[in-house]
């Protein structure tokens, strides 16, 4: 029988630090002890809008250390604008941690992490965890232009090899970050987070070079907790993440919709049927 303790995964946090990493790119540090202690690499939170006048916003947990957790986000609309206007000392309520993060149990020797744009926000925790566990981690990091390649040093300091790519050639390789992945060698595992065209390319390249990839997907969320089926992606029925669903009568597709917020946001690229 489901027990009803007081909701344990809604956290009243306080803004401890705030930095504008680039125009429209904000890093919010929060005093959030339970969240920092309980977040697994690749999990996300739903940020309750301070005004109460919008849906909560799904954001990855960028850093989580001791009492401090942080969010790194791009201002793309009303909700992220509101979050970007928070000042130090103000309150931000977070629901989470949510979803299933990256699966790092295979203790891989060499890992390529591919990040595109805001995708960088969800890959610091897995990078740190892998390095702590003795993996060699290469960050392949792409963005439209150099100014948007935020926090690259942070990953270098954490012990990653870092290779950059920009669409306009203003920094690193002139072209897509997935080209770098194509040229990379003997990785045992690929982790990726970024815009879906990039993720699809990663899936293709991963298949080519014969390395399994975990992709952190993005979709517009409503509930963020598996209650509304608004954020689905088709995956193989055979996937461990596949929710139970009756087969098609004529046995057509082997795909079933999984909720990105609940079964994901991280999926094995070779199990996606998108």
């Amino acid at each position: 029988m489901t027990t009803l303790e007081t909701p344990s995964r809604v956290h009243a946090t306080l803004v401890t630090d705030r930095r504008e990493l680039a125009p429209g790119v904000v890093l919010l540090g929060l005093d959030a002890p339970e969240l920092a202690a309980s977040t697994l690499p690749g999990q996300f939170v739903m940020a309750v809008p301070p005004s109460g006048e919008a849906a909560a916003t799904a954001l990855g947990v960028y850093e989580a250390e001791a009492r401090r957790a942080s969010l790194l986000f791009f201002v793309t609309g009303k909700r992220t604008r509101e979050l970007s206007e928070l000042h130090v000392g103000e309150r931000l309520d977070l629901v989470g941690p949510l979803g299933n993060g990256f699966d790092l149990q295979s203790s891989p020797r060499r890992v390529a992490i591919v990040a595109g744009g805001v995708g960088i926000a969800s890959v610091l925790l897995p990078a740190q965890a892998l390095i702590r566990a003795g993996s060699r981690v290469t960050l392949l990091y792409g963005a439209r232009t150099s100014s948007l390649l935020v926090e690259a040093e942070r990953f270098a300091d954490a012990g990653c090899e870092v290779a950059l790519a920009t669409d306009d050639g203003t920094a690193g390789y002139h072209g897509y970050v997935t080209d770098l992945l194509e040229r990379s060698h003997n990785h045992d595992l690929i982790l990726a987070c970024g815009p879906s065209p990039m993720l699809r390319a990663v899936a293709r390249v991963a298949a080519q070079i014969g390395v399994r990839a975990q992709l952190s997907l993005e979709e517009t969320f409503a509930c963020g907790v598996g209650g509304c089926w608004g954020c689905v992606v088709p995956i193989a029925r055979t996937s461990a993440q596949a929710p139970s669903f009756p087969p098609e009568p004529a046995g057509g597709s082997d795909a079933v919709n999984a909720r990105i917020c609940k079964e994901g946001p991280v999926f094995w690229s070779d199990e996606l049927r998108w």
Binding site: M1, T2, L4, T6, P7, S8, R9, V10, V48, P49, G52, E53, A54, A55, A56, G77, K78, R79, D93, V95, E219, T220, F221, A222, C223, G224, V225, G226, G227, C228, W229, G230, C231, V232, V233, S244, F245, P246, E248, N257, K262
Partner: protein
């Protein structure tokens, strides 16, 4: 204590609820999804996601778009179909510490009859809500709630198949919702859910494509509250059965607008996506409101602002 505290309990048909707050169908799963985020001791009941006769994969993505003070959704009634649902899902609702109401959707009278009968037969299900108003299935799905005659037929049919409380969920996408409500009551509905989402769409001006995979969707959230309050107000004038008001309820004041308009209970959907603590805040707020006004129960405010309609000032001889 029992003496002094105002009561928030309400009775909807045979359904007795500790609080007048239902969690909107399709927004709250079975409630289990929210256990770690909300206090489910403080809700009236959860209306389950609508289920159909056959399994449905639902619509293409994106299924959600945020709009000013609201959102569009086009889930497309994704569900495993009633047979699988009865076998694998419903058993999980046994011994839940909150009531669950089954929601039934379909594409023919026969669909509604088939699904309602089987679902109502299960002890885990406290009541049945007929969703005859889902705007997100490319089919006749919505025409039931858009046609008084069809509404009457589907309600009468399902009424004959169960003694459990039968709630009929109406669509705002009609010229005269009161006429539909009247037929639903006459056909044997125990209560009415007013309203389902308002049809709408959004276009991505960069890609020149509709922003929803299904092209059109249902608008919910505070944006539609004035539309929903009026719908409740109009329906309350023609029916005697309880109304479950819904559409953009986020605060105690919002809930009170619906109760004062004539709703006996309210439903909270989209607000759970803003902050899962809202349902608890609303019941605490309602209790405080009654307390401050020395009112002993919700019944004492239901419909109290429903004063009928005004006639505009006209000049002599003006036909208006």
């Amino acid at each position: 204590m029992v003496e002094t505290q105002p009561s928030l309990a309400v009775t909807i048909g045979k359904l007795e609820l500790p609080y007048p707050t239902l969690m909107g169908s399709g927004c709250y799963g079975s409630g289990k999804e929210f256990v770690q985020f909300a206090n489910l001791r403080k809700i009236g009941a959860v209306v389950l996601k609508s289920v159909t006769r056959l399994p449905r994969m639902g619509n293409a993505t994106p299924r959600l778009v945020h709009t000013p003070a609201g959102m569009l959704n086009a889930i497309g009634l994704q569900n495993p179909g009633i047979d699988w649902y009865l076998e694998h899902e419903v058993p999980k609702y046994a011994r839940l510490p909150w009531r669950v109401v089954g929601s039934v959707a379909g594409f023919s009278i026969d669909d509604y009859a088939y699904v309602s009968e089987r679902l109502a037969a299960r002890d885990e299900i406290a009541a049945i809500e007929l969703n005859i108003s889902c705007p997100n299935v490319a089919s006749e799905g919505e025409t039931f709630a858009c046609d008084p005659h069809l509404t009457s037929k589907v309600v009468r049919t399902c009424r004959g198949l169960t003694d459990k409380t039968l709630i009929v969920k109406l669509s705002p996408n009609v010229t005269d919702i009161a006429a539909i409500a009247y037929e639903a009551e006459a056909a044997g509905a125990d209560a009415l859910a007013v309203i389902n989402t308002v049809r709408g769409m959004a276009i991505d001006v960069d890609t020149w494509h509709p922003r929803l995979g299904n092209v059109t969707g249902g608008l919910s959230g505070p944006a539609i509250r004035p539309i929903a309050v009026l719908a409740v107000y109009e329906v309350a004038r023609v029916v005697t059965i309880p109304i479950i008001g819904q559409g953009g309820i986020e605060t105690t004041r919002d809930a009170l607008e619906f109760l004062l308009a004539g709703a006996s209970a309210i439903s909270i959907g989209t607000a759970n996506f803003t902050d899962p603590r809202i349902p608890e805040r609303i019941v605490e707020g309602l209790r405080e409101y009654l307390w401050n006004r020395n009112l002993s129960s919700i019944d004492e405010i239901v419909g109290k602002a429903n004063v009928g309609f005004a006639t505009a000032h006209e000049y002599e001889g003006d036909e208006g």
